[in-house]
């Protein structure tokens, strides 16, 4: 059993598990932090961005000044943003049988895999995962395609040139494999390969293994996966949460008794408590708006935003903010808000019961009804007519490199009355802000990451007790900035195995059993013999039939009857035509008794020698040697067949036959 690690990003995993005869890809997350090296794509022509000076080498050589621009001491690539794909060289991806998706954030690389590697398998995911994943991809494609960029920079990627660049460009990994965003056509084609599954549904893969998605409590439709055969069980834990937010709670019990537990997708901010962060978010929002400033919340169109809107729903009246407009701007805003209300069966119990009242499960329906929350596909069109300040704007993309958020950064960045509040933990907010410096706007960092923290992980591992834990190497040591915090790492016994990008891990357990079925008529013909209490043995002569990884023992074919003969069948004819089998022997030979028996039968001058493996009985007179070992007995005598048979029969007396 092997694990091929195609992504080094702990929360955007992409691993391939070879288990029995199947090749299973676990998630295909797309690392978008690479886009932070690029200049933002402004929706409206930005003189500031277009006038940034080109970057030149220390020696004044300016041959890169078309590709690289400098802003407040940082250098950015002036080109269409590109993404860092999972490894494609480590394993032939056309051999992947299935891809299991655990949540909509972990499928963003899917089109790259399914459309460009010769992949012919099936993708499994839950319905909300697919629908919301589609929205995220659609938004991404839309953000990038609607700002066509004439130039595509590639010179800087040359290895010899990259060495000369300042950090972080210099240290960016595998830049040659970075790719532009996929197209909507590729998205549709990729999504058409997905087969929908429900929680706890058992899916057979070629009869060899069974995979089952379990609720993971992190997002709508988010799952962990069980991959098991008859005798082995691998659990794949991706983004999971034990907090009470909107999704169905995490199913922990089904993870018990795993041989291997692959642990990914823990919280990226282990020291920040989501509840405190929501409080911080609300306080800062209220403070800004009360002072007449605007609040910008860069966010994804689904996920935490539902919880934020719910908190704000309870908070705005008490904070006297009822008259402040909330805008949600995304090409998929409408679908996202509506989808959330229809996936009732995927929601937490509280929200499910609302559906039966009937009431919308999320209160943002009421915010929309009362006109407190308005949503628009983009800043163009209706929005520009309705736009009123001060206001709160939720919009993407959290990287601040594309999407409507770029416009608001340019618009509001100059005033210290305004605030940008970062809630998504995926991007370093300082790096995200770098191309907007100098910035007068206030910046607040309230990352809300509801995924498991290390305390919860250690409780979980105690509860489900896997034999082995495998996790990204980042989880096996404290974060570099807090090296003394030994509590901020996975702590289990035996210590977790760690992996990093482009590594192949041999998982530490061997398969020892295989299940084989016996046909009833064959089973009928067996004659078991009890060799010790509770254990019976029988010899089986059969044909092993293997198809679709299922093994069946069938009765051996009968010998073909000689045609034409009308002889009556005799009982002996039924016996299959195979060699008469010698009986199987079991038991051990007690040397003392054996010697006594030999003496009784007239042998004298017997000598016993102990060897490493057993004993040697020497019949000196007969010049014969009997070598008794645990699993074999040899009688060595010179050409005296009669003596050998006599001795053999004496040996056999001590053994059981069947």
């Amino acid at each position: 059993m092997k694990l091929y690690c195609l992504s080094g990003h702990p929360t955007l995993p992409c691993n391939v598990l070879k288990f029995k005869s199947t090749t299973i890809m676990l998630d295909c997350g797309l690392d978008m932090t690479s886009t932070l090296n690029f200049l933002p794509l402004p929706l409206v022509q930005s003189p500031r961005l277009s006038n940034l000076p080109g970057w030149s080498l220390k020696d004044g050589n300016a041959f890169l000044d078309k590709e690289l621009k400098e802003c407040s001491g940082h250098v950015f690539v002036d080109s269409v943003p590109e993404f860092c794909l999972p490894e494609t060289e480590l394993i032939d991806l056309s051999t992947v049988d299935v891809i299991l998706i655990s949540n909509y954030h972990c499928m963003m690389a899917l089109p790259y895999i399914t459309e460009h590697t010769g992949f012919t398998g099936t993708v499994y995911a839950t319905e909300p995962t697919v629908q919301i994943g589609r929205l995220l991809m659609e938004e991404l494609v839309n953000f990038i395609e609607r700002v066509p960029k004439a130039q595509s920079a590639s010179l800087w990627k040359n290895k010899d040139i990259q060495r000369l660049l300042p950090s972080p460009l210099k240290d960016a990994v595998e830049v040659s494999t970075w790719r532009r965003c996929y197209t909507m056509q590729e998205v549709n084609s990729a999504l058409s390969k997905i087969q929908l599954v429900g929680y706890s549904q058992k899916i057979e893969l070629f009869g060899a293994v069974q995979v089952t998605p379990l609720s993971s409590g992190y997002a709508l439709g988010s799952s962990n996966w069980i991959i098991q055969s008859h005798y082995e069980k691998v659990s794949y834990v991706s983004g999971s949460s034990l907090l009470t937010t909107h999704p169905q709670p995490m199913d922990q019990a089904s993870l018990k008794n795993s041989d291997v537990l692959i642990l990914t997708g823990l919280t990226q901010i282990p020291t920040a408590n989501p509840d405190s962060m929501v409080g911080e978010f609300c306080s800062n929002l209220a403070l800004t708006v009360r002072n007449g400033g605007n609040v910008l919340v860069p966010c994804y169109p689904s996920g935490v935003i539902y919880d934020l809107l719910e908190c704000l729903y309870q908070y705005i009246d008490s904070a006297g903010l009822s008259s402040i407009p909330f805008y949600f701007i995304s090409p998929v805003a409408n679908s996202s808000l509506e989808f959330s209300q229809i996936f009732a069966e995927w929601l937490c119990h509280n929200k499910q019961t609302k559906v039966y009242l009937p009431e919308p499960p999320f209160p943002h329906a009421e915010l929309i009804q009362t006109n407190k929350l308005k949503h628009y596909p983009s800043i163009h069109g209706d929005f520009s007519n309705d736009f009123r300040q001060p206001c709160v704007v939720f919009t993407g993309h959290p990287s601040l490199r594309f999407g409507d958020v770029v416009h608001f950064m340019e618009l509001w960045g100059k005033s210290s009355l305004n605030t940008v509040i970062f809630t998504e933990p995926d991007f370093s907010y300082l790096e995200a802000l770098a191309p907007y410096q100098p910035l007068a706007m206030k910046c607040i960092y309230c990352p809300i990451d509801t995924r498991l923290n290390f305390i919860q992980v250690s409780k979980l591992l105690k509860e489900v007790q896997p034999l082995h834990v495998v996790c990204p190497e980042q989880y096996t040591q404290p974060p570099p900035a807090q090296s003394h915090r030994m509590d901020l790492m996975v702590d289990c016994q035996p210590p977790a195995m760690s992996y990093r990008r482009a590594e192949v891990l041999a998982l530490p357990f061997k398969r020892r059993y295989e299940k084989i079925e016996i046909m009833p008529e064959l089973a009928d013909s067996l004659v078991p013999m009890e060799i010790k209490p509770g254990i019976s043995l029988a010899t089986v002569s059969a044909v092993l039939h293997t198809k679709d990884n299922k093994h069946v023992l069938q009765p051996p074919p009968r010998p073909t009857q000689p045609t034409g003969g009308k002889k009556r069948k005799r009982a002996s004819d039924d016996i299959p035509d195979c060699k008469v089998l010698k009986p199987l022997l079991s038991g051990s030979i007690p040397v003392d008794q054996f010697v006594q028996t030999l003496e009784k039968h007239g042998f004298s001058d017997i000598k016993v020698e102990d060897t490493a493996k057993g004993h040697i009985v020497l019949l000196q007179e007969a010049e014969t040697l009997i070598q008794i070992e645990e699993d074999s007995t040899h009688i060595i005598c010179d050409d005296d067949e009669v003596l050998r048979v006599r001795l053999r029969d004496l040996v056999l007396k001590f053994l059981q036959k069947f």
Binding site: N273, L287, Q482
Partner: protein
């Protein structure tokens, strides 16, 4: 005992003795015991028993083995104790598994001992226990057996009995008992583990507090031994108890202090960045005690730290606290603990790392440490440490991860430190550093007042109120506050959805405007509508708020404003008082009405001079004052309140009218009732009010009529009636006996009911 109770008693005794008729509720039995205690204290218990043979029967009845419930058993044992029964015949019951029975039996043993050894014969009682009366000797033997026993529960029992004996009895015989038993107690310390450590600590403290025994040097030896034998957690209460004693050997005090300091010393050691910082134990205990490791489990470690911090907190303000008090290392240790809790400490040592993991985010330790830190502000420290204190407090106040309760404590500790940093008295501005802190603090406060968590908004407002109360007059504070948005936010919180927050906002607005710190809002959109004055805003709260807390808070602010001569009030106090009283008199909340009377009293004092023996107001001033009081309709309010269905209101009103009468009518003059104006209509109205018909208005009242009514009313009698609690009928013993008989057998329904 009154005849009615005597009549009921036999029936009750029958009920108590009958296991088939369970008594519904323990509290009845407790009340019954209280009553018997009162009865026996009032007269002879012997007579009582003679007059009521049913009681004796009950006592004997219980001796027969039967299925009596443990609560009846315990009741009868304690009753027997009260009657000071001569026989220790219930001794066998001492091991009863029921806690109540065991404790009652223990108490009984002590009473029997005391009875056998005290009284007139005391002079002849030998200090040697073998000369004691038979029953006393028997008890002592029993206790000795228990102390020698291997069974911890028996040891615990004996220790409990001894604790009670030394705690409650002060006869000479207690010395004899201690001499006899102390070797056995000391021997307990040789066992491993020491059995019943808590009970042992209780016993030693009880002995140490007893005036008869504390001179015994053996005691201090045992105590010292106990301190070193018990684990730090177990020894903590003993150490704290020893340090609170007025006099005990200095060496023991040092050792005890060392026990309390040990956990903090460990923290200091584990987190020390560089050597050089004086350790905690160096000054206090030298190298008597090595810095030991903390308990391995998180909960034990947290418990130990919390109790050490709590003990030290109680010790700090005591005059007999250890001296020299290691203020600086203590401060350093508390700061280190707080840093470990919020994850900002980066210790190098392995022990430090372990502490980090154990204390990270631990709310209990944070609260205990912040409490202690607040207390430590009473003694200052080196500037560098004070800087660290403010820094960590700010970290806690800023951190979104601080839980609301921790935040409240952090605010309180910050207030303590800011106030203690006010430069030398007289000059009263903050130290430059504290001034800097204040700036940051106000920006934190600004954010906290917007918190979605109401507890946080509430504690923010409380902090602001306190801070303003103490610093409202200081230029530095005023400047910083006025430059922040805090006053405006505070004003907005008058509309908070949570009533507690509105109440705190009322108090804060009251304080701020007392000091003239509530500037008119500057934002242009409000400029069009004229801004309400704080007085008008609070009046609005008083008349419209649906919850009691904010309205009560308004009344407190108003009373304070009236007393302190707040400008808006002082302009026209009569109008102010009239408006407030009108609102308060119709309020449904009795506390608001009481506060209304308090305000009326303040007004009276302003007109007639303060309360006191110093006689009657001069006639001219009196007439004027009475006119004013009539104009603000104070009398209507006061008379109405006199018959208020809530007793505290009526009492307060009674006090107010008595005060007024003392001021207005010379005592010699009180008989001149005849020649006053006709007050029959007023009196008729009052009678109707008394009967509950409150609708009737009093109409115009002339000062003379008021005086006449005051003369004619028997306010003293009314005061006496009101002083009797409203349930004085229900609380009579007769009622208790009736109730118990009535509810006999009705078990189950109110078993879960807690009184």
């Amino acid at each position: 005992m009154d005849p009615e109770c005597a009549r009921l008693l036999p029936a009750l005794c029958d009920v108590l003795a009958d296991p088939r008729q369970p008594v519904a509720d323990d509290t009845c039995l407790e009340k019954l015991l209280d009553w018997f205690k009162a009865v026996t204290e009032a007269g002879s218990s012997l007579l009582l028993l003679q007059d009521h043979p049913c009681l004796v029967e009950l006592l004997f009845h219980v001796l027969k083995p039967q299925d009596l419930s443990s609560r009846i058993l315990s009741f009868v044992l304690r009753l027997a104790g009260i009657f000071a029964a001569q026989e220790n015949c219930f001794q066998y019951l001492q091991g009863d598994p029921s806690l109540f029975v065991a404790s009652a039996a223990g108490q009984l043993l002590v009473r029997v001992l005391d009875l056998a050894l005290c009284g007139p014969a005391e002079g002849h009682i030998s200090l040697q226990a073998w000369d004691w009366p038979a029953c006393a000797r028997k008890i002592v033997c029993h206790l000795e057996d228990c102390l020698r026993s291997e069974a911890t529960p028996r040891v615990t029992q004996a220790l409990h009995v001894l604790t009670t004996a030394f705690g409650h009895c002060h006869g000479l015989w207690t010395q004899g008992l201690w001499v006899q038993l102390s070797p056995l107690v000391a021997r307990l310390l040789e066992k491993d583990p020491v059995p019943a450590p808590h009970a042992l600590v209780d016993l030693l403290l009880s002995v140490a507090r007893s005036s008869m025994l504390s001179s015994d040097p053996g005691l201090w030896e045992t105590a010292a031994q106990t301190l070193s034998r018990l684990s730090p957690t177990q020894a903590g209460p003993l150490a704290a108890g020893i340090l609170k004693l007025q006099d005990c050997p200095q060496a023991l005090r040092i050792q005890a202090f060392g026990v309390l300091l040990q956990p903090l010393a460990f923290v200091l050691e584990a987190t020390a960045q560089a050597p050089g910082m004086p350790g905690l134990l160096e000054g206090a205990a030298g190298d008597l005690m090595a810095v030991d490791t903390l308990p391995p489990s998180k909960s034990a470690c947290v418990g130990l730290l919390c109790s050490a911090l709590a003990h030290l907190e109680l010790l700090q303000p005591l005059p007999q606290r250890p001296s020299p008090w290691p203020q600086a290392p203590l401060l350093a240790a508390v700061v280190a603990i707080l840093r470990l809790c919020n994850g900002s400490a980066a210790p190098n040592s392995e022990a430090g790392g372990r502490l980090c993991a154990m204390l990270g985010g631990c709310v209990r330790v944070q609260r205990a440490a912040l409490d202690f830190l607040g207390v430590l502000s009473q003694g200052l420290g080196p500037q560098e440490l004070v800087t660290q204190v403010f820094a960590i407090l700010l970290e806690y106040l800023v951190s979104p991860d601080s839980s609301p309760t921790v935040l409240k404590k952090a605010f309180q500790a910050t207030l303590c430190w800011l106030l203690s940093s006010a430069a030398p008295p007289g000059c009263c501005d903050l130290e430059p550093y504290a001034q800097l802190v204040l700036g940051e603090l106000l920006s934190v406060l600004r954010k906290r007042l917007c918190s979605p968590c109401w507890e946080v908004r509430d504690s923010g407002l409380e902090f602001l109120t306190q801070m303003t109360r103490h610093q409202g007059g200081q230029a530095g504070f005023r400047q910083a506050l006025l430059a922040s948005e805090v006053p405006e936010l505070t004003r907005q919180l008058l509309q908070d959805p949570e009533s507690y927050v509105r109440a705190s906002a009322v108090a804060a607005v009251g304080q701020l405007s007392s000091w003239g710190l509530l500037a008119a809002p500057s934002s242009p959109e409000h400029a069009a509508t004229p801004q309400k004055t704080p007085l008008e805003e609070l009046l609005l709260v008083l008349t419209t708020d649906s919850e009691g807390f904010p309205r009560r808070a308004v009344m407190r602010v108003f009373t304070e404003w009236l007393r302190d001569g707040y400008a808006d009030v002082a302009e026209d106090p009569e109008r102010f008082v009239a408006r407030v009283l009108q609102a308060a008199s119709g309020d449904l909340d009795w506390e608001v009405r009481v506060q209304g009377l308090e305000l009326a009293l303040a007004f009276l004092e302003q007109l007639l001079g303060p309360c006191g023996p110093s006689a009657v107001a001069p006639p001219g001033a009196l007439a004027q004052a009475l006119q004013a009081l009539c104009r603000v309709q104070l009398f209507e309010f006061a008379f109405r309140s006199l018959f208020d269905c809530d007793r505290p209101v009526a009492q307060k009103s009674c006090d107010l009218l008595l005060f007024l009468r003392a001021k207005a009518i010379p005592s010699s003059n009180s008989q001149e009732a005849g020649d006053g104006p006709d007050v029959t209509s007023v009196e008729a109205a009052l009678r109707r009010w008394q009967a509950g018909e409150q609708g009737q208005p009093l109409g115009e009242l002339a000062p003379e009529a008021v005086l006449a009514v005051l003369r004619s009313m028997d306010l003293e009698a009314l005061q006496d009636t009101l002083a009797e609690s409203s349930d004085h009928v229900e609380r009579s013993p007769q009622s208790l006996l009736q109730d118990m008989l009535a509810t006999v057998g009705v078990l189950g329904d109110n078993e879960a009911d807690c009184y």
